[in-house]
């Protein structure tokens, strides 16, 4: 920021960048009308949708997050900038920062109107602001950094295309999981063979029922039911569906126990499922094939070896929320740990028993 003019008016470069980002964001909103920045996640969807639809047609109205630089297009731009080489990153971050500053008339405080100083600090330092979905600001309690990392890695993965489901299908399954989590009324299982396999509109009633069973009645799953489900949708889709359930359920429960709302589901990412069956899998006594070659470790760690990427994310969550591999084999933990091993195990044992889990 060098001249008086530049303090108050955006440069041509900033205007061009804002035009591109605004166009990108409006195109995105046309496909995702419920989108809101993370800070507004509690806003009712109906209001968000109405606002997002009205915005491009109404003069002087700007999208949610436009003034703060937290629109979807800004976050994508930030991702792009962070992937650039160091020199270019600094230049592009500066250009983006200036563009955000130029989106409305901002009055600098007198002591801030100095070059090389922190005018519009909140905006200038945008690159330093932790904009991850889960960060220290989003919890009222101090959550360890390792756990925040695991939560963010998982959240980002959920919306990606998997090996067997597209991003859209994965998010639709997650919606189904949430619907079942919030529904406390007892439900009756529907025979799988009676359910349609046709998408309605994104996932089929058959997939919804399998998601419901894994979410709400997992303790009742027997070999007959599981084999039928697998024969109808395939081993890969079944494993990936289970991975989605077992990754989102702990995150949502953790958020609720810490007294904050669950995060809005992520926007699905484009792309096709890979459809690749990992090598080294064979029948090992579970309902699906899993890693058997040179396997050392508890069976639960290889449960989802059919979908290794999702399993890796799951084990990262397990490592940060329960115990990492080194901690797992040690029965006496470091004194600096907030709970000792026996305290953690009493919680684990009681939770497993409440869920009627034999394992």
């Amino acid at each position: 920021m060098n001249t008086f003019k530049e303090l108050y008016f955006p440069s041509g470069e900033s205007r061009d960048l804002n035009k591109r980002l605004r166009d990108e964001h409006e195109n995105f909103l046309a496909e995702n009308p419920n989108w809101v920045p993370n800070e507004l996640r509690l806003l009712p969807k109906v209001i968000a949708r109405a606002f997002n639809k009205m915005c491009p047609k109404t003069p002087f109205m700007v999208p949610f997050g436009w003034i703060d630089g937290t629109t979807w297009a800004d976050l994508k731009e930030q991702e792009r900038i962070l992937s650039l080489p160091e020199d270019q990153r600094v230049l592009d971050a500066e250009a983006h920062k200036n563009a955000i500053r130029g989106r409305c008339f901002r009055i600098p405080r007198p002591y801030e109107v100095k070059s090389e100083q922190a005018a519009f600090k909140a905006v200038q330092d945008y690159a330093l602001v932790d904009r991850r979905v889960f960060n220290v600001e989003t919890f009222d309690h101090k959550v360890p950094e390792e756990l925040l990392d695991a939560l963010n890695a998982c959240w980002s993965r959920l919306a990606e295309p998997g090996e067997w489901w597209t991003g859209k299908e994965r998010v639709a399954i997650l919606e189904e999981v949430r619907k079942n989590c919030s529904n406390n009324a007892p439900t009756v299982s529907t025979p799988l063979e009676t359910l349609s396999k046709k998408p309605s509109p994104i996932i089929s009633p058959l997939t919804s029922e399998i998601a419901r069973m894994v979410t709400s009645n997992a303790a009742e799953i027997d070999e007959k039911w599981a084999k039928e489900a697998i024969s109808l949708i395939g081993e890969g889709k079944y494993s990936e569906l289970v991975s989605l359930v077992v990754n989102i359920v702990p995150i949502d429960i953790f958020c609720l126990l810490l007294g904050r709302p669950v995060v809005s589901l992520p926007v699905p990412k484009g792309g096709k499922p890979g459809g690749k069956i990992p090598e080294g899998l064979s029948d090992g006594g579970a309902f699906v094939r899993w890693k058997t070659e040179n396997w050392v470790g508890p069976n639960v760690a290889r449960a989802l070896s059919f979908v290794p990427k999702d399993n890796e994310i799951r084990m990262k969550l397990v490592g940060s929320m329960y115990a990492g591999s080194e901690q797992f084999i040690s029965m006496v933990w470091d004194e600096n740990e907030p709970l000792d091993r026996a305290q953690v195990e009493i919680i684990a044992a009681r939770t497993s028993s409440i869920n009627e889990c034999f394992y």
């Binding site: 756990l147 077992v246 069976n299 639960v300 919680i347 009681r350 939770t351 889990c357 394992y359």
Partner: protein
């Protein structure tokens, strides 16, 4: 089994029936409070807020966050075990015959997934 092993390792006396919700005293520090906390967290009980406050005041904020994260992740682990039909690890299966019998764990559906190992 890990509850038994970890309490043995620190020479604490724990009656395993506490895991199935039966009243039992344990030598584990704040064991009773943690059990009540776990039940309230899993059953979404109205008592949860008070118990959370009690955990924080007795054991600190870190303990509350860790306890919450253990409840949360085990709600995922149990679903992966049951939905994938994981058999109990061989060593655990052979070392827990009496405990499983005493605690009535063999009546859970998941026991059938481990029958091959038991025979």
């Amino acid at each position: 089994m890990l509850l038994r092993a970890s309490s043995k390792a620190t020479e604490k006396d724990v009656s395993l029936v506490c895991a199935i919700g039966e009243p039992a005293t344990t030598d584990i520090a704040h064991g009773d409070l943690l059990l009540k906390f776990t039940e309230a967290a899993n059953y979404d009980s109205s008592e949860f807020k008070n118990l959370a406050a009690e955990v924080i005041s007795c054991m600190g904020e870190g303990a509350f966050v860790k306890a919450s994260s253990v409840v949360a992740i085990f709600n995922g682990l149990v679903r992966s075990a049951d939905a994938i039909g994981i058999p109990l690890d061989d060593v655990t299966m052979s070392n827990t015959v009496q405990e499983r019998e005493d605690l009535g764990l063999n009546k859970y559906q998941g026991f059938n997934n481990s029958l091959e190992c038991d025979n």
